[in-house]
């Protein structure tokens, strides 16, 4: 069933493939002119165009691209000079580590906040929830990031320097998963674990603040809806404890829209990564994609969009499976 579901995502990916190929070609920039460098005479530009294979027809270029892709070759990033696949595999864990930490942080804050706000509508906690989420969603992430860095690093000195995943003196743990926290734990290296956890705090908080709003608001709304439902009234009438009513009956039933929001939020986060990574010098795929876009470097842009496409497909699959766990009545099928 899951296999079938995955197969059905293939046309999507093929669509993504064709569209990104066409869009990158339609961008107004000229990579040959860009990479001809300081001494870019017209001949030099043509020479480089031929070297990059950009003098061939679009159809030919696409055929080569698909052929290479079938071999697992995503091409070479001109801006860093390395294979795109290596770049993406090397940087994806950094982005995912950040995004997942942010998501966990956001969930850990937003869901209790939403539940509390729903059980006490109109109270101070409800107002605080509203204020916090409005602020979080209305400030652009790069601004929140700069603000947090200014306050907690520059002014107070509590947070470590916004200089990437580890401070310059520390040595990264041996790569197993590429997630520094997990790799450090596997290596039993507590110092690196703490060092990388500290580096994560500010960027993860920045991103978490941005998605608090949809999560907390959705939890609150769903909980309010469920709490006024008949079965909750019945449960209360039976004299079940407040905790049981709230968590076993109400929360579980409110979870479905929350999980949907979680999926949406995760994709937001992947997108907003780009700016947060820039601010915190985080070596993830977002900042890589931006740099490639600046240079009209086709191969990494295509690789990036394709990776994102694949991630979204996986994400949707995961959400569907979660639905089934939350609510067994939901059928997962192609």
């Amino acid at each position: 069933m899951i296999g079938l579901r995955t197969l059905s995502a293939l046309p999507n990916l093929i669509g993504v493939l064709i569209i990104t190929f066409l869009i990158t070609r339609a961008l107004p920039g000229d990579p040959a002119a860009f990479f001809a460098g300081a001494a870019g005479s017209q001949e030099a530009v043509e020479q480089i165009r031929a070297k990059l294979g950009l003098d061939k027809s679009l159809v030919e270029q696409f055929a080569y691209y698909v052929r290479d892709l079938a071999r697992g070759d995503l091409g070479t990033a001109l801006s860093t000079g390395r294979p795109v696949l290596d770049e993406i595999l090397g940087r994806l864990p950094a982005s995912l580590e950040l995004t997942l930490s942010a998501l966990m942080l956001a969930t850990a804050i937003a869901i209790p906040l939403g539940v509390l706000a729903a059980t006490r509508p109109g109270s101070w906690i409800d107002h605080m929830c509203r204020a916090l989420t409005t602020a979080g969603v209305s400030l652009p992430t790069f601004f929140t990031g700069l603000l947090l860095a200014y306050i907690f690093y520059y002014r107070l000195g509590w947070a470590p320097a916004p200089i990437g995943r580890l401070d310059p003196y520390a040595t990264p743990p041996a790569t197993v998963t590429g997630f520094y926290l997990i790799d450090a734990a596997l290596a039993g290296d507590l110092d690196v674990f703490i060092a990388s956890a500290r580096q994560l705090i500010l960027p993860a908080l920045t991103m978490a603040l941005f998605v608090l709003a949809p999560l907390a608001r959705m939890t609150r709304a769903a909980m309010l809806g469920v709490l006024s439902a008949d079965f909750v009234r019945t449960a209360r009438a039976y004299g079940l404890s407040r905790f049981t009513v709230l968590y076993r009956y109400a929360f579980r039933n409110a979870l479905l829209p929350v999980v949907t929001t979680l999926g949406m939020v995760f994709s937001f986060l992947l997108g907003s990564n780009v700016l947060v990574e820039k601010v915190f010098a985080w070596p993830g795929i977002g900042s890589f994609a931006i740099e490639s876009l600046m240079a009209s470097d086709y191969a990494p842009i295509q690789g990036f969009v394709l990776t994102m496409g694949a991630l979204y497909v996986l994400l949707n699959l995961a959400i569907d499976i979660l639905y089934r766990i939350v609510d067994p009545r939901v059928e997962v099928s192609g």
């Binding site: 107004p28 002119a33 030099a44 000079g81 690093y153 820039k278 600046m294 240079a295």
Partner: protein
């Protein structure tokens, strides 16, 4: 074993959380004296300066990891900052050299004890291979070699193991300096050839990611887009042993954060910040030191496309030159971190130097008069373009220009061109009016003019300017042996350029580098990349 390790880890983590060591502390680690931490906007994208698309920071890699045959001496500027000395050529890999009497060849004697990082001795064969490679790779390295009349592999000759001769097709004063630019780096040909393939005879793919040099620093690790770490090569023979043993160069894209890192003492050095930051950091009594040196042979300018009306009319161009709000630009866009190039004594320079001030100044009455004479009393509308990649300075310049030119009836629509498109746009030469910056590596006026004003119409002649008289003067100055004649030719072509004014020079940019007070020895080099070999950290 693994599980015991894990449980110990969990225990210590738990303990750490209990005792609050996860809560960050304010004490920055004291940085060792022989380790330098630098943060910059972008890092190298290649370890091979000859490769396609190697960016500016990769010139810095070539400079540190590879040696040249010769280099330049250093001099102290009036404010105490150190700069390379263009007029002084000093030994690097070559311990001595002799220029032939007719000036048509030079013979280098290489250091006998010099080795590459892997221990292979450096021989004349490596030098020839490297020069041949610079020509064979095409594009920028070939171009740069040709700028010094280094045009054909036959010019490079291995005399014996430690003797290397270069012959020149003509006497060219740029030949020797051209062998001291990063492109003329000496590669370990034995190591490179081991990694060459029939498809890739010059090992371009391998050298992109691996260094094969013998310079003062080795690449300890390189993560493109993140950081490059250099370690000193302790067997370096081509100069005094550097004091800094290890250099960590991180990429921190946000200029604001780089400033914060520097102010809090987490990094030792940074550059590429907006001029406003440097202005604030350099204020007297600050905790930091800012070294500023005017960038040689570089100019911020307003360029006008002379092939199309209305800028085909010299009166209109002069009107623009009189309507530019120079003082405002210096204060509001450059924050004083530049050298003024207006308000000089005349259009003909006293000294044969470039950049040199012209005598235009903000004079709206004069500008209006010229517009009237040109038949544009009612003004016109046009587009002003600039490179978004240089937006920190170009954007305020564009806005101030828009405001000022409106006063003489020229209505400007501002067109921001993204960095990737800028070069293509320059190549097309169809932008009527631009704000831009250009700098030439070799510090000769005629070199600058050859690229920017000469009728050969290089990409940097953004105005598509053609003037046979100026071309003749620039060509003559290039190979003029007589000092006096040369100086007059330079004065002549600068005068022509200022009278015809296809581009209006505004200011000469300044290279600012901010560092901790305990860092000294920073030296300005024409390639603008940091040279850690001379840095000392107290």
């Amino acid at each position: 074993m693994k599980s015991r390790l894990m449980s110990r880890f969990t225990f210590r983590l738990f303990a750490a959380m209990c005792f609050g060591s996860l809560v960050p502390t304010a004490v920055p680690a004291a940085s060792p004296k022989d380790v330098l931490i630098v943060a910059n906007e972008t890092g190298p994208n290649s370890l091979d300066i000859h490769g396609v698309g190697a960016n500016r920071p990769s010139y810095g890699v070539a400079w540190l990891v590879y040696d040249r045959l010769i280099t330049h001496g250093r001099k102290k500027l009036p404010d105490g900052t150190l700069s390379y000395d263009y007029s002084k050529i000093e030994p690097e890999l070559a311990e001595s050299w002799v220029v032939a009497k007719d000036g048509l060849s030079v013979t280098f004697k290489l250091r006998k004890n010099a080795t590459f990082h892997d221990g292979t001795p450096v021989t004349a064969k490596d030098v020839k291979w490297s020069y041949d490679r610079a020509l064979a790779m095409g594009g920028f390295p070939q171009f740069q070699m040709k700028a010094g009349s280094l045009e054909k592999p036959e010019q490079f000759e291995v005399v014996d193991e430690h003797t290397f001769r270069v012959s020149f097709p003509r006497r060219d004063k740029m030949s020797l300096p051209d062998m001291a630019v990063p492109v003329a780096s000496i590669y370990n040909s034995t190591l490179a050839m081991k990694n060459a393939t029939p498809d890739d005879p010059w090992a371009a793919n391998w050298l992109k990611n691996n260094a094969a040099g013998g310079g003062a620093y080795k690449v300890e690790s390189w993560k493109p887009g993140q950081e490059i770490v250099y370690a000193r090569f302790d067997n370096w023979k081509s100069g005094p042993m550097p004091k800094v043993r290890r250099v960590i160069q991180r990429e921190v894209p946000s200029a604001g954060n780089r400033r914060a890192l520097l102010e809090r003492g987490d990094i030792d050095m940074t550059y590429e910040m907006p001029p406003k930051d440097f202005q604030e950091l350099s204020k007297a009594g600050g905790k930091l030191h800012v070294a500023s040196v005017p960038v040689e042979n570089a100019v911020w300018y307003v360029g006008m496309n002379v092939t199309k009306p209305p800028f085909d009319n010299v009166k209109v161009r002069q009107a623009v030159a009189y309507a530019i709000p120079y003082e405002q630009l210096m204060a509001g866009a450059f924050y004083g971190r530049a050298v003024k190039l207006w308000g000089g004594s005349g259009l003909r320079p006293g000294q044969p130097v470039w950049p040199t001030p012209h005598s235009y100044k903000t004079d709206l009455a004069q500008a209006k008069k010229l517009m009237q004479q040109a038949g544009h009393a009612d003004g016109f509308e046009t587009t002003l373009s600039y490179d978004l990649g240089q937006g920190t300075i170009s954007e305020p310049v564009a806005i101030l220009l828009q405001e000022s030119l409106a006063k003489i009836g020229i209505k400007l629509v501002i067109n921001k061109v993204p960095g990737a498109n800028w070069r293509a746009a320059m190549l097309k030469k169809d932008m009527p009016l631009i704000v831009n910056r250009f700098g030439g590596w070799l510090n000769y006026p005629e070199y600058f003019f050859y690229w920017t004003y000469h009728g050969q119409n290089a990409v940097f002649n953004t105005m598509a300017y053609q003037n046979p008289e100026l071309d003749r003067l620039v060509d003559a100055a290039r190979f003029e042996a007589d000092r006096k004649k040369y100086e007059n030719q330079v004065r002549d072509f600068i005068e022509v350029a200022h009278k015809d004014v296809p581009r209006v020079p505004i200011a000469q940019p300044v290279m600012d580098v901010a560092m901790q007070k305990n860092v000294s020895g920073y030296t300005y080099w024409f390639h603008l990349q940091p040279d850690y070999r001379q840095i000392v950290k107290q």
